[in-house]
Assembly symmetry: C2
Homo-oligomer: 101 residues x 2
């Protein structure tokens, strides 16, 4: 299993539109067989900062996700909303067991 945290910093006027576009993407992404979770959370002390927690079941799942129409739409929709470039950090799972993600 592969866990990716995507850190997103959105321009103030784009916060609501970013949430809308990302919820649409998340609801479609969790239907992909290779995706166990696709969480969206908002930083409490800075609502312009978000974290996408993407939990992939297989090594090929991230590439499969990037080939979907919902990913392409999201990527193009949110591109002008960024206050700074997105960053991603990859993690290995230690707890709980993979099946509980």
């Amino acid at each position: 299993m592969l866990i990716v945290h995507v850190h997103v910093h959105v321009r103030a006027e784009a916060v609501e539109a970013f949430i809308d576009a990302t919820l649409t993407n998340a609801r479609a992404s969790v239907q992909e067989p290779g995706i166990a979770r696709f969480d969206l959370i908002q930083q409490t002390d800075d609502p312009q900062r978000f974290l996408l927690q993407e939990v992939y079941r297989t090594p090929g799942a991230p590439a499969a996700h990037k080939e979907t129409a919902h990913y392409a739409l999201w990527r193009d929709t949110v591109a002008p909303m960024m206050a700074s470039p997105r960053t991603a950090v990859r993690y290995e799972n230690l707890f709980p067991e993979d099946a509980r993600w």
Copy 2:
């Protein structure tokens, strides 16, 4: 619901001991009624860096967690293992619904 990400940077020689102590704490923490998840993940490109994802069901749950014996044991056990001070970031949940965490 309150989501807390605790970023931990461990000294190289303490990595295995940190994992052991934190797994013990995580297995006990997920038994607390106020805790929905207590995840431990390890950064792929820097195995000395970990993230604890603590998902609390209620505003009082973080304080209740810090009163447990397993938290106190973990805190004291890992204190000398830190390469730098821990940092925590708080988030609000946007997706999925609270019950699916």
